[in-house]
């Protein structure tokens, strides 16, 4: 009887061209049950402090979670982690799709990639057969062609391919990994790390079964069936299926929290041109899913009109619509879909890419980037052609695109002057499309997250604002006892945030997609506990699951401490402390004083020293990772 894991990691030394197997036991996995926890553990063990993120000493790990590959909706995610070339901090990103489950069914819990190949290679995995293959003929190919070639060479069209396009090959610091041409490990620049190792991709075919590894496969399957049946009966999962994340645009705009023109404004005057109804009419070609997921929230688009957009690379999510749309002042949904397609072709993180475009536009409008640098093009807000040009230049590192490919922080330092103010980032990672001035807990998350600004580190404030809402009732299961207004930035907000951060982090450990568990969606807290117990056989309760999430965050934090990060890096861009210029929250800014007070309260709740933002030895010991304290001295 298993405990949910294959117990096996594949180690690949790209410099020497050799592979080996590393086994771990159940006692180890109980502490690090995959995903973010296992990844952070491995980074601390494998990477020496201060290595060049794009050098051979950096290590890229790809690991599944305990539940990844289970026949349960949203149990699809794997974690990619390395020292981030964008932030120099702990870098991590989760992706769904099919690749993680396929790796598990091939018998591997994860892959540790070290060194650098002498020339482009790809990794071919068929169950326990592993080969490092020449990829010189694939380098420079777009993912669609490269995937077809790898499948052909594997002799199996069911092969799942994780790979990079030219964004990763050119080491754009926010390049992504792509699997099945439409699922991304978007954040933190993991594509650049893969590119720096001369690794084009990893083709995997696994013919095993999850039931071979689960403690109680029947119980896991029964939970999966029960959840799948309920997708249409729960308003939130039903909505994800109907509209997917593109459905979020109008509501955020109405609430005044739709980031517009590089976060200057909170509402977009032409929002009606980019809302879901237009998406459905002008773009949508199909609804798609990830492995075994009955929610099916992924969209696919095809356009043959003002722009030609291929359906090969999926469809834009809310983040991409918000980023290339309102945040660049653009209301042409077809152009946005084209930008999304380019991010797929080039394997760029659409959040950072669109944020860098908005940054460049604001610089241009202030004369900090000049027409001589743009071939005469007007890189102003609202110019869709300019947006597409900038994306292209970034991917190819053409002209000033070479500088922009370094990310907004580095670009701003070179450009100088007000450019620093226009760079909307935390720790070097660009802000996603959620407005902290309207939901301040999201701002706390942007500030403290080890990898820089990220919107999935916790659950957003409005979900626990109204005691009569479905989401509040779900959050109450996690110990959120009182409703808190979305704009209340207080010590009690910090406390609620911390619990929800642990829950989100836990999901990233075991491999749940953010759109599975409550409070965001339909899988109730006790069902998550039930699923973990059935998969592992361990007698864990929800407090233990929260502790697993907290452990993972603490390991990531130790990594950052070792790299020299401290409280002053847990901050927000200055602009967020200024009033919004338009929308329902016009005139509202965050208060610095409240922010600092809440931050101090948050460190206390986390058991960290408020001065340095370092975990205390006591807290690490309480989390079963006392050894990590020694790494911080």
């Amino acid at each position: 009887m298993g405990y949910g894991s294959t117990g096996k990691l594949l180690r690949v030394d790209l410099t020497r061209g050799v592979t080996s197997v590393e086994r771990f036991d159940e006692a180890f996995y109980r502490v690090y049950p995959g995903g973010k926890a296992l990844a952070a553990y491995l980074l601390l063990r494998e990477i020496a402090p201060h290595v060049d993120p794009l050098g051979p000493e950096n290590v890229l790990v790809l690991v599944n979670g305990l539940i990844t590959g289970a026949p349960i909706s949203t149990a699809t995610r794997f974690t990619a982690a390395a020292r981030s070339p964008l932030t120099g901090a702990y870098g991590e990103s989760e992706a769904g799709g099919f690749w993680g489950p396929e790796l598990k069914l091939a018998g591997w819990e994860g892959i540790i990639l070290t060194g650098r190949a002498a020339h482009p290679v790809y990794l071919a995995i068929k169950n326990d057969q592993v080969e490092i293959r020449d990829a010189r003929h694939l380098w420079g190919l777009e993912p669609e062609q490269a995937q077809a070639a790898m499948r052909e060479e594997m002799g199996d069209r069911l092969t799942r391919v994780l790979q990079i396009g030219i964004g990763g090959e050119n080491k754009v610091r926010f390049a992504a990994l792509i699997n099945d041409l439409r699922h991304f490990n978007g954040r933190s620049g993991m594509g650049a790390v893969m590119g720096s190792k001369n690794l084009k991709g990893i083709a995997v075919r696994g013919t095993g079964k999850y039931s071979d590894y689960a403690h109680d496969p029947q119980a896991v399957a029964e939970i999966g069936r029960r959840i799948a049946k309920r997708v249409k009966e729960h308003p939130q999962s039903w909505d994800l299926q109907e509209k997917g994340t593109p459905g979020l645009v109008s509501g955020l705009n109405a609430g005044g929290i739709l980031p517009t023109r590089n976060f200057r404004q909170g509402a977009f005057e032409r929002v009606d041109n980019i809302k879901w109804e237009v998406y459905e009419k002008e773009l949508l070609s199909a609804r798609r899913s990830c492995y075994a997921c009955a929610i099916r929230c992924k969209r696919e688009v095809k356009v043959d009109d003002r722009y030609q957009v291929s359906d090969a690379y999926g469809g834009p999510e809310y983040e991409t619509i918000g980023g290339f749309g309102p945040n660049c002042g653009i209301d042409d949904l077809q152009a946005i879909a084209k930008a999304n397609e380019l991010c797929g072709r080039y394997t760029l993180d659409s959040i950072s890419t669109s944020a860098v475009v908005a940054f460049a536009m604001e610089c241009f409008e202030h004369g900090l980037i000049t027409p001589e640098q743009t071939n005469g093009a007007e890189w102003r807000f609202g110019n869709a052609e300019a947006m597409l040009q900038i994306v292209d230049w970034i991917a190819h590192r053409r002209g000033i695109g070479d500088l922009l490919a370094e990310g907004s922080l580095r670009a701003a330092e070179v450009i100088g002057g007000d450019a620093r103010y226009f760079a909307m980032h935390v720790k070097g990672q660009e802000l996603p499309m959620h407005e902290p001035r309207g939901k301040v807990g999201v701002g706390l998350g942007y500030a403290v997250n080890e990898g820089g600004a990220d919107h999935l580190v916790a659950y957003h404030d409005p979900m626990y604002a109204n005691p009569a809402s479905i989401t509040f009732k779900a959050a109450a299961e996690l110990g959120i006892t009182e409703p808190l207004p979305p704009r209340e930035l207080s010590p009690r907000k910090a406390e609620a945030y911390a619990r929800l951060e642990n829950w989100s982090s836990f999901g990233k450990v075991v491999g749940f997609c953010y759109f599975g568990p409550a409070p965001r969606s339909l899988i109730q807290v006790d069902e998550v506990v039930e699923a973990v117990r059935a998969a592992s056989g361990w007698d864990f309760d929800k407090e233990e699951l929260l502790r697993i999430g907290e452990r993972a965050t603490n390991l990531a934090r130790v990594f950052n401490v070792r790299e020299g990060f401290s409280r002053q890096d847990d901050t927000l861009p200055d602009r967020l402390f200024q009033p919004l210029e338009s929308g329902a929250l016009a005139g509202v800014g965050m208060s610095r004083e409240e922010f600092e007070t809440a931050l101090t309260a948050l460190y206390r709740v986390k058991g960290w020293d408020p001065e340095t933002a370092r975990p205390t030895r006591e807290r690490l010991e309480a989390l079963n990772i006392g050894w990590a304290a020694d790494l911080m001295v």
């Binding site: 109008s250 979900m463 809402s469 479905i470 965001r520």
Partner: protein, 76 residues
């Protein structure tokens, strides 16, 4: 009156309509109207009437109004 059930709110409409025409002979309390339509007030985070934010409690609507409602996810 034209009513938009944004986000997941149209799940509560038996026909899952995102936009509804609601004929109103006289002004009514929006909260009472929502009760008739089986939309739980706890799920409504944002109310926009004729382009302006409003509070659900105690607000009246009448024929000719354009009312948009959004839940906490993707609203609030």
């Amino acid at each position: 009156m034209r009513l938009h059930l944004g986000g997941h709110l149209n799940w509560y409409d038996p026909r899952k309509r995102a936009w509804l025409e609601v004929p109103l002979a006289a002004p009514v309390l929006l909260s009472a109207l929502l009760q008739q339509l089986h939309v739980p007030p706890g799920e409504v985070a944002i109310v926009v009437i004729n382009g302006r934010l409003a509070q659900l409690e105690a607000v009246m609507v009448e024929d000719g109004d354009r009312v948009e409602l959004y839940p906490a996810i993707g609203g609030g």
